[in-house]
């Protein structure tokens, strides 16, 4: 086990280039579980936690940039985040308990790429962009394009998450975050979802965005239902059809936490409630 500590972003990039197989370490809430179980023996760790520049939430031209090292505890209480991206604040407040929130970071959460990352559905509907850096330069990916599969990302060896850009959304007519789990804190959820809806004056849908976690190997936007709903009024047959279309974009699994049928049913019920205005808030 080698433990490298980066003091500045430049040093982090140099060390990551020199040791492309080193595991970046942020809050350690995922990595230390693996380490305690002996799964990281012999590995090199690159500790990013001293990088103050990556622990900031800063205003950007059309939104905000959230540094990779910003913790869930900060995000859930940050006034700007509560004002413009309340679904993200809410989701961060459901990550584990207070101890996990205090150390777990947004960058670590994304890089970990669990199908059950609570902040993922909000980041998907806010259309966040993830900024990646390596010794040779920077690139930006749309949030959904970061993921390659269960616990897999498209980050190259030596590449680090620097920050997450959140664009300001127009004020939604309705919004929702929902986590369906077993024990409120700590439990890995069965399903979580986030929705944003904008209505025209006449009640027709201008735009709707809905994302589901734990319903496929990676977080999913409901592209088929979203497209179908655009420009339509939310009457009974329209809602029925949209709820049916939900299944087109997900592939829930049976596992120890839940069954495929339960997950699909739970998600469809919440989606229906959201479209009918019974669930969610303005």
């Amino acid at each position: 086990m080698r433990f490298l500590r980066a003091r500045t972003p430049e040093e982090a990039l140099r060390l990551a280039e020199k040791h492309p197989d080193a595991k970046p370490l942020a809050g350690g809430t995922d990595l230390m579980v693996a380490w305690n179980a002996g799964r990281l023996d012999g590995k090199t760790m690159l500790d990013l936690s001293p990088l103050k520049a990556w622990a900031r939430i800063s205003p950007a031209k059309d939104g905000a940039d959230v540094g990779a090292l910003v913790t869930h505890a900060r995000l859930m209480r940050h006034p700007e985040v509560l004002k413009f991206w309340p679904l993200l604040a809410e989701a961060c407040g459901t990550v584990g308990g207070p101890q996990i929130q205090a150390r777990g970071t947004l960058g670590g959460n994304i890089a970990n790429a669990s199908p059950a990352g609570d902040p993922f559905p909000p980041l998907a509907v806010y259309e966040a962009r993830v900024r990646l850096v390596h010794a040779g330069g920077r690139r930006e990916l749309a949030f959904l394009d970061v993921f390659a599969g269960v616990k897999k990302t498209h980050l190259a060896p030596g590449e680090l998450i620097e920050s997450v850009h959140l664009p300001h959304p127009p004020k939604p007519s309705r919004q929702l975050f929902r986590k369906i789990g077993t024990r409120a804190a700590q439990a890995i959820s069965k399903t979580m979802m986030a929705g944003l809806l904008w209505l025209e004056r006449d009640g027709a849908v201008r735009e709707v965005r809905f994302a589901l976690g734990s319903m496929a190997p990676t977080v999913k936007r409901l592209h088929a239902a979203e497209e179908f709903l655009r420009g339509r009024r939310l009457d009974r047959p329209t809602v029925d059809k949209a709820v049916e279309l939900l299944a087109a974009d997900v592939s829930p699994i049976d596992d120890v936490r839940s069954t495929r049928a339960y997950r699909l049913r739970a998600a469809q019920n919440v989606f229906r409630g959201f479209l009918e205005g019974r669930l969610g808030r303005s």
Binding site: L25, M32, V33
Partner: protein
Amino acid sequence: MKLTVNGKKRSYAGLPFKRLLDVLREDFGLTGTKEGCGEGECGACTVLVDGEPVNSCLVPVGQMEGAQVETVESLASAKKLSRLQSAFLEKGGAQCGICTPGMLMAAEAHRRAGGKKTRQAVCTAVSGNLCRCTGYKHIVDSVMAALKGRK
């Protein structure tokens, strides 16, 4: 490497990937902090780092350079228990006691952060802590009593 533990400056020269939990117990002799699961699930190992509650089983000590760490030993003065500790005694907040140091530190973090004095807020504050004995009611009663300053 230097850090502050319960107000005292300490130095540590061992392996950076040793868990803070083990350094506190083995190197610094502070055995008040307990290990339950070793996986971040139970909160028995909760200590405060720069005022925030963390699971010390999930922190490599190498990350604690310059940090202020507080353990359950910091709560009482030489002769007197803290109000929170007294409340746990009076209201039956502890049975076997394994979860108690972690519960106390999670509750202490809530108190210091000026957290709400409602049962719901207290439940959320200790939601990362498991207790297999009390059924939680007496724990919440204890914390509420301490927050409200009643005897």
